[in-house]
């Protein structure tokens, strides 16, 4: 992945005024960092609720379990802030965005799995867990595979795309 970026950047940077090229490179790196950061946030965001959330809590209802607010917040930020902003910053490249989605869904699956099978248990019920992990895990693996394939194949396409979109 980083190889691709370097190659593409190298091709692009030659043809752009230096400050803009630098800015663009920084944006891509930042975008990639944001996309990767969705993983741990999503893992935390599913780990805590998977240990049981009441139907209603906070306010007049009994207080929420510890960590649940941060978990919901983490999941929200991962989905609705980091993923879109990261995707915008890396530019029109499907490979890093797919990798980001793979990391996000993988993080969610890992959070649930760890909550039930790695950490000390809070319940014996397992069926929902397995469905959740299976669906998200499959999505993650598919996205990761697609990202790898696209990164390999799209090297030249990305360069061409950069030329088309970045030239004045």
């Amino acid at each position: 992945m980083s190889d691709t970026t370097t190659h593409a950047d190298g091709a692009t940077l030659d043809r752009l005024p230096r400050p803009i090229a630098r800015l663009l490179g920084a944006a891509r790196v930042t975008g990639a960092v944001l996309l990767v950061a969705t993983g741990p946030l999503a893992a935390w965001g599913t780990f805590v609720p998977a240990r049981g959330m009441p139907g209603e809590c906070g306010g007049d209802a009994p207080p929420c379990p510890p960590g649940s607010m941060s978990a919901i917040l983490a999941l929200m930020v991962a989905w609705f802030v980091l993923l879109p902003v990261g995707a915008l910053l890396v530019g029109r490249r499907p490979a890093p965005i797919l990798a980001g989605v793979a990391v996000l869904t993988g993080g969610m699956a890992a959070g649930v799995l760890a909550s039930r099978y790695i950490a000390d248990p809070v319940t014996h019920a397992t069926r929902t867990t397995w469905w959740f992990v299976a669906i998200l895990g499959t999505a993650s693996v598919v996205c990761a595979a697609a990202a790898i394939v696209l990164a390999g194949r799209g090297r030249h396409a990305a360069i061409a795309d950069d030329r088309a979109s970045c030239r004045p």
Partner: protein, 225 residues
């Protein structure tokens, strides 16, 4: 990106698992699942630790008038040299609550003579816990096992095991933890709630009018004396 993601997710999950270990829900489930497991106060080591911890929290010249153990909590009542009574309670989650009864005991109804701290420290908790476990295992629909130290005239009379379930099992033990009598299986009326067991246990130690404690006390004296 994928590698970095995997590494950071693993790190998060490892951290979260450590965090979850001491969460109230985790502890509650572990105790409901295994009332005699390692985190329980009815585990031999756990019982020793919590009882010693409570005794360490006592002031000079204080003696024990009641001791009650259940998987998630342990409580002790004491009377000081100034006849002032205190109640101490600790839970598996940690922390010690103490409550001071403002009235000196000569104004209150009845109080058992306190047992010296050293006598409580010498108790064979492992044997009592093992007997509790045996009672628990033969109780249908078993839920919460409890263990109450029976005191009488400033001496340790024995233990009373109560296991709440579809039926309530009561077992009386002598101070060394040997089974003396089985009572009350299938008679929930005699058992009451754990809280009531503390209260009545304290009062009963002095009066001896309750049939269950009466039996325990009688036999307990025989083997203790």
């Amino acid at each position: 990106m994928l590698t970095t993601g995997a590494v950071s997710i693993s790190a998060t999950v490892a951290f979260a698992s450590g965090w979850a270990h001491d969460q109230p829900r985790t502890i509650a489930f572990a105790l409901a699942d295994e009332p005699f497991g390692e985190r329980s106060f009815l585990h031999p080591d756990g019982a020793r630790r919590v009882v010693d911890g409570l005794l360490d929290a006592l002031r000079d010249r204080e003696g024990v008038t009641s001791l009650f153990l259940e998987p998630s909590a342990a409580s002790m009542r004491v009377i000081g040299g100034d006849r002032l009574r205190r109640s101490l309670r600790t839970t598996v989650g940690g922390g010690l609550e103490t409550f001071e009864f403002r009235t000196p005991s000569h104004l209150a109804v009845r109080h058992p003579d306190p047992v010296p701290v050293a006598a409580v420290r010498r108790l064979d908790l492992a044997a009592a816990v093992a007997a509790t476990r045996r009672a628990w295992e033969r109780t249908p629909g078993r839920r919460v096992p409890t263990l109450l130290l029976e005191l009488r005239d400033g001496r340790i009379a024995g233990w009373k095991v109560e296991v709440f379930g579809d039926e309530t099992t009561e077992v009386l033990l002598d101070p060394s933890g040997d089974e003396v009598d089985r009572l009350g299986a299938g008679t929930p009326g005699t058992a009451g709630r754990p809280g009531a067991a503390i209260a009545s246990g304290t009062a009963v130690g002095a009066s001896g009018d309750d049939h269950a404690s009466g039996t325990a006390v009688g036999v307990g004296h025989g083997s203790a004396g």
